[in-house]
Symmetry: C2
């Protein structure tokens, strides 16, 4: 059995909020009743002339370092959001024991996820963005932050027939 050392969650916007808590059988739900205006930010995308719901980059980092550094991972996700021109709504990171981090950043333009396997220097990321946010700009950020020896990127145009 492994102890989870760190559970970190943050909202991307500093909101004056009216939090309402409701106990469920499994977990507490925090509902923020009010939030500042936000756009869904042109919730389709065009890539090479193809209209789709969003551009989804499947990114694999190999021979990477810093994959157990939760502060580095959080900073890097935030930097990716900024570089892509996206809007962060919520970020949550979970630090496993003995090692490994899972994290998601919910964006107005969809999401970024990361799962790391530090023991083998591998991380799996998904960069899913619609509108004008550009996930390509995250790649050099990731390569540099984690000193990745090899980066594989595959692109999916989600919802082309939507």
């Amino acid at each position: 059995m492994r102890q989870s050392a760190l559970l970190r969650s943050a909202k991307g916007l500093a909101l004056p909020s009216t939090a309402r808590k409701r106990d469920t059988k499994v977990a507490k739900v925090t509902v923020v009743a009010s939030a500042p205006p936000d756009d869904r930010h042109d919730h389709f995308a065009v890539r090479n002339g193809v209209r789709c719901a969003g551009v989804h980059l499947i990114v694999d980092l190999h021979e990477a370092k810093g994959l157990d550094d939760i502060d580095l991972i959080e900073t890097t996700l935030r930097r990716c959001v900024d570089e892509a021109g996206a809007t962060l709504l919520h970020i949550h990171l979970h630090h496993f024991q003995p090692n490994g981090v899972s994290g998601v950043a919910v964006l107005a333009e969809s999401h970024i996820s990361i799962h790391t396997w530090p023991e083998v220097g591998y991380a799996a990321l998904d960069l899913f963005m619609c509108g004008t946010a550009n996930p390509d700009r995250c790649i050099p950020v990731l390569r540099k932050a984690f000193s990745a020896g090899r980066v594989e990127v595959n692109e999916l145009l989600r919802g082309q027939k939507a």
Copy 2:
């Protein structure tokens, strides 16, 4: 400009916790210093004899309904987690205005994400799981919950070379 009506976030485990708050320039970070024991749950996977970091199903729902019903979406994500035999660590849903929902469920076995476009009956989901959790079992749950006329599923074996 669209108003976000609902921001919902929940931890999958009811934790007695020691929360530490740190202000950042952009957002507050809530850190839970202690958590109950959890496994990374055999953080690799084997699919058709191929060892990989995890099985990632790319799921597109077309001609679907209920895609603006945040309660239905939350219930369905939780049901997917149960059906797959996965462990929910954190769930966050964001309801856009005038419509559309984005959500992520962070699992001990990776994550489930959903982004909906109710106006065109389309939803994009990712079911990424490692260990013994089986994302295939989510497909009939999704098909039924959202009355999808058409479901496309593509499978990626992430980190085969990890």
